[in-house]
Amino acid sequence: MKVLRRLFWVAMAVLAAYCLGGIALHRGEHINSTWLVVAAACTYATGYRFYARFIAARVMALNDQRATPAERLRDGHDFEPTNKWIVFGQHFAAIAGPGPLVGPVLAAQFGYLPGTLWIIIGATLGGAVQDFVILFASMRRDGKSLGQMAREEIGRVGGIIALLTVLVIMIILLAVVALVVVNALRDSPWGTFTIAATMPIALLMGIYLRYWRPGKVMECSGLGFLLVMASIAGGRAVAQSPALAPLFTWSAITLAGAIITYGFLASALPVWILLAPRGYLSTFVKLGVVLLLGVAILFVRPDLQLPAFTRFVDGTGPIFAGKVFPFCFITIACGAVSGFHSLISSGTTPKMIAREWHALPVGYGSMVLESFVAVMAMIAAGVLQPGVYFAVNSPAGVVGATPAAAAATISSWGFPVTAADMSALAHNVGEQTLFSRTGGAPSLALGMAHIFSHLGGSAVVGFWYHFAIMFEALFILTILDAGTRVGRFMLQDLAGHAFPKLGRTAWKPGIILTSAAVVGAWGYFLVQGVRDPLGGINSLWPLFGISNQLLAAIALCVATTILLKMHGAKFMWVTCVPLVWLVTATFAAAWQKIFSPAPAIGFLAQAERLEAALAAGHAADPSATRALIFNARLDAAVCAVLLLLVAAILLDSLRVWFGVLRGTREARIAEAPFVLSALRAEEL
């Protein structure tokens, strides 16, 4: 039996290597998506069985005899020992956002290969390790947050920097995801109607849950889902109605205004009215769609139309500028390595883990599953004809404002597409145009609709497209309203030190003021993105990727410090290797975004070019150009602040590491003392 088991794992490892080699070396004919699926699944399984178990047993020395905080501090509320698969589901639902779906779609401009390899290898050796180690560290410290652990293990500076970085990331994140929604819904009466309909549906669900059937969340969510599906079906009629279509045909700037207003209201209103019912619905829809996409890919097994590499690895990409290194590695954050996950791993999850070994499937397993979602997103982007993919994702400022000009530019890159093809495709999915729908969501929806339509016929491709748009917009809006609220709490926490009244979360003027400040901050970046002639994604997505990866660098600094204090230098490579890679890629990207002499990449060069145009009198709209110059400098400043913050925490960590290694600093770890577990198996 033991021999058979060994043979099985040898076969698994060989299959992983064979498929990875296959996709890496395959050229010429289209590759089937099965190669990507098998390469990913076998690599994750091998990584989980050997690397993650090695970390669990040797590095962390997980011990099921040791009582977890869920058992020791059990209060039936936050701290509650829970079945490991239930915690797994909860943790996966919490870490899976739009990032693993949108990032790979954008990075597909380099071809399917760089992004796919980064997703699979990055998650196995970096992202899943980060999530797992932070979950373990928090579990051994009574469920403490990343900021608290940074303060205790590294120092006061680390704690404050972690808090500030999270606040900056939240603002950039909210702006960029709002931009994705705006670009998906602009001039789309079908999409706008569907999303607008989710507001009264959420209100109805809120009232249903509060007054009619209290506590019946599943029943209420089922009802909400049926109503949302009905609104998607109704959206087609709205889009075809000469009277109703204009009412829901909104420009990008109008949509941005609506989303900013929505963000403010959702942050200031009681949670039960809008936020809670929408949150429940979005979680179920998200999990359902991910499952559906996985099953559909397995059944359909589509060929990838995108090549392994495109010419844009040289940095001249139309979607975002910059070479494959470092920009592929910051464009795909969630799905490979995401700093944000460390906030979840040190949030609710460690308070629910019943046995220490459960951290393995929850921490490592959830992340590799999320990585698998990113591979599926890459497949969904890859099944599109490259010409269509670039026509949808390239901004009008790069390819031209008219369909004929855009088609000619994209065809000249070697990706043939015609205005007639695009018009027919738009007509098929019930849209007026699909040119320059930047942000990743529309092309992902097209790819998903393409895959799903194999199961339901091409007649329903429009329905599937809008179903995918609804799914993306629904949970992006959930992140917007919840994120604005969290940002408000953080700001109140910070401002409360200077003005204690502002720190009181029940004080109405404080709520309104801080909500407006947070909404104003991300709203500013959103409007900046909407007005950007290069589509906004070119500047905002890299900023988001950089900030997210810098947060991962902070988390890995904390993790390395803890491993160093536990074992000396013996196992610090486990977190140090991904840390060195992340710091190299992210600092390189941030440096280029600030100082690159190419105006398409460097913010300062972009400001200089615009200034020169203004001085020479070539600017068509001087006041708009002045705003663009200011925005480019603001983006450079934000990038520089993030770099400085993380450089500070890195130096602080290095100081602690050298002190511990030289013996001049006490290697005291702040773990809770050992208590023998009394939890019985039947309690789980």
Partner: protein, 58 residues
């Protein structure tokens, strides 16, 4: 068949955890109360306040 039923039950419990229905049951057990509109309101207000003070992932 039993295994399939077990998996189905587990999936159901995961969905109930995600929907806070399990947490509500724990709340009722802890306080020894019966389900009611007021109790749900008390539970969900506290639960949602705590949940929405934490960052959501990207």
């Amino acid at each position: 068949m039993t295994k399939l039923r077990k998996i189905g039950a587990l999936v159901w419990e995961i969905l109930r955890e995600l929907s806070d229905e399990r947490a509500y049951r724990r709340h009722l057990e802890r306080h020894g109360r019966a389900p009611s509109r007021e109790e749900w309101r008390r539970f969900s207000d506290e639960r949602l306040r705590a949940r929405n003070a934490r960052p959501k992932c990207c």
